[in-house]
Symmetry: C2
Subunit: 436 residues, 2 copies
């Protein structure tokens, strides 16, 4: 008779032979995490990196077993019959898409951290994986070490998720959470560059391209919607000033780069932009480079995921977890998605910050322009201590569409007193609704 509490011996299949494409920060972290834990059923067999002979001399390569084959060129590895799974940590669309397609077509599963590739070409690559009965997993492509993708796919598939919002770019969050403490944009951007959080050209982060790709992937996983990445509007955080955080605080808010998507009939409302976030919202909890995603389900309500969104080790945890899921025979969840048109705006209150040469009648002119487009003013704030010839003040509106606000701002463009282009930010509220 079998003792029910006795451990059942596991019959291990042949180990999954793994080729690692890229041995930079993330690739070497994957090797380190694998070496430190020696997972059963997994064997790193190939590493591909340009100029691999010099990579082999780095400290990061000390953990690599001597049996591992190093290559400069992926061709031999992608076609190899002694590789079962390819991990891609290089990034970019070209030539990576064709490499991974080749790997999938030759019967290899693929694990990737490549957000741009999965955002733009994920559906096509998933189809190739399905045709070839292999798996394509990309948990590391969104929020690094925060397992929001597997959690949604495995743990929330019983719900109907109708919207999500997140902080998915650690660089922007580092900058904005420091500006919240009083730092200046340029000053904290320089600090982020020095700390290695921001690139020399920070555009992909601060202008929203990086977050937009991740939002697209989250929309696929959580809303089952395929969006055209370039249709999602992005707004840069680079126009924010220290005074915006002071005004935000008066409104009980802070400012974060928020990536939002929400189902609305046949469309998905989606936008990446700096937004005012109530201090009571989980979105305001995130500090430093942390990432955070909040999903809202029809039955389960809000679920919050938070943690390290980037960095070698957290990203490697996501990659190795995907690898183990495949190696240990956990099957991919079948994800049925529908292409959806993007509407780039939400029905929301807006924060408008003007810098004017103060003359009588300005408030009347601005409120007139807003009234003309049908936007109702909720509050007018003017902090003391600024010179009259360069006076910042803030108007908040009742919920309206961003396009409505922009029509009013266009009309205001003619006002002589307007010293710079007004800043318009969406305000998150506790019970935000997209336009229906």
């Amino acid at each position: 008779m079998i003792d029910p509490t006795q451990k059942i011996p596991q019959i291990r299949p042949q180990p999954t032979r793994v080729a690692l494409l890229g041995f930079g920060t993330v690739g070497s972290a994957v090797a380190r995490v694998l070496a430190a834990q020696q997972f059963a059923g997994v064997e790193l067999t190939h590493i591909v990196n340009r100029n691999s002979s010099s990579k082999r001399q780095t400290d990061a390569a000390l953990v690599i077993p001597p049996s591992v084959q190093w290559h400069d060129d992926p061709a031999a590895v992608l076609a190899a019959t002694d590789v079962d799974l390819v991990i891609e940590t290089i990034g970019g669309l070209d030539p990576i898409e064709s490499w991974l397609a080749q790997a999938l077509r030759s019967g290899k599963s693929v694990v990737t951290a490549n957000k741009q590739l999965i955002a733009y070409r994920g559906a096509a690559l998933a189809a190739i994986a399905s045709e070839n009965s292999v798996q394509l997993l990309y948990n590391a492509a969104v929020a690094g070490g925060v397992p929001v993708v597997p959690a949604v796919l495995q743990g929330l598939q019983g719900d109907r998720i109708t919207r999500l919002s997140g902080i998915v770019n650690g660089t922007c969050n580092f900058i904005l959470s420091h500006m919240e403490q009083g730092a200046d944009y340029a000053e904290v951007l320089a600090q982020a560059k020095a700390a290695g959080y921001a690139e020399a050209d920070p555009s992909a982060d601060v202008d929203g391209y990086d977050a937009r790709a991740k939002l697209c992937i989250l929309a696929r996983v959580a809303l089952h919607a395929e969006l055209n990445v370039d249709d999602i509007p992005i707004q840069s955080i680079s126009l924010l000033e220290a005074l915006d955080f002071q005004y935000a605080k008066e409104l009980g808010c802070t400012i974060r780069q928020v990536s939002r998507a929400q189902l609305g009939g046949d469309v998905v409302h989606a936008r990446v932009a700096p937004m005012l976030v109530p201090l009571t919202s989980p979105i305001a909890w995130s500090h430093g480079t942390q990432n955070m995603v909040v999903t809202t389900g029809e039955f389960g309500g809000d679920v919050v995921f938070s943690g390290h969104g980037a960095g070698g080790n957290p990203t490697a945890v996501a990659i190795v977890s995907d690898l183990l899921a495949i190696a240990h025979g956990s099957c991919a969840v079948s994800l049925e998605t529908t292409p959806r048109r993007v509407l780039g705006e939400f029905l929301a209150p807006h924060y408008l910050r003007f810098i004017v040469d103060d003359k009588p009648g300005i408030v009347s002119a601005i409120s007139g322009a807003l009234a003309t487009v049908g936007a109702n003013i909720d509050s007018i704030l003017q902090r003391p201590g600024y010179p009259k010839h360069r006076l910042p003040f803030v108007v908040t509106t009742e919920p309206c569409l961003t396009s409505t606000i922009h029509r009013a701002l266009t009309a205001m463009g003619n006002f002589e007193c307007m010293l710079q282009k007004p800043l318009a930010l969406q305000m998150l509220t506790v019970d935000d609704k997209a336009e229906d």
Copy 2:
């Protein structure tokens, strides 16, 4: 030639035929979530509930298809050959354990929300499931609608999680987050009962039994450790007073019922108790009935999960997600666990609250008793406004073991001036370590 972007038609197997044990709050929510979403590949075929004929007359039963068979007794369903999967929403150990063992032995997978059963008998049931090549999933048993179990199993298996702490009892969190706002224990407990958050006998919640079972399950999933449930010490929240929250606030903290477990060599440090939590800690974010779990991985660092820990619909989401994972052929992650001995304490600063009849020499006597056991005082706080004959004051210590503190408190038991038993609470810090 195959168009790679074309959708591959999915060949559906026969639908998974589901029997639902229990048609109370959670069971009827499962039926509602299934009816609302009509998932492919899943069919509810049987419902078992005592006195089922009256349950069939309730409004909750309106969503049940007429094809579903209702039974008063589980026997016929557990042995049935036309049931593939059993969902259990009844709770308790006996007779549920034997029912579910019978279901597993007859080739049925099991999805359960039964935390006590999985905490005490999960390993044995998992072994039966494994022997019979069926699955046993229990994501709903911890933190209801927060998918921490699948997220850890699928998304963090590449990390080495060394500790976790959580707020896993919504009733306690409701009470404590209201006491933080100034409410009295008895008053807010009555309010929790009226709102349906607390039972007539609230002991399972306020004394920590419920949280302890969940901590045990989390330790299995995240730390791969099998703990003896009854070895984990629990401390009731019922001895907290409003003044403890005032003192906690002075220390930059609030108080929460925290469930902690941490690997330490061959043992696991584990405890369920009200603890002081820094206001800057994610643990302090949780308000109302929300649940929160924070895992700490060697490579990925802290990951935070938060959401609705209880209630019919969130729990049903967890159950239906498990059901879909099995029905759609996603395989269970093989979880290899090791039995570990529990050490019920941590090396941590402690908060000691005394209520004394103030006489000269008291502070000296108390600090002497602490010095005798080797506990160093970090601060002494005494808020004004209390009568000298019934004076509360607080001592915080540098990190030491709870057992050390209790030795000192035992010695103090002889002090005549001590009007009631001192309250000793562990204080969480940002970089807590267990004793090594």
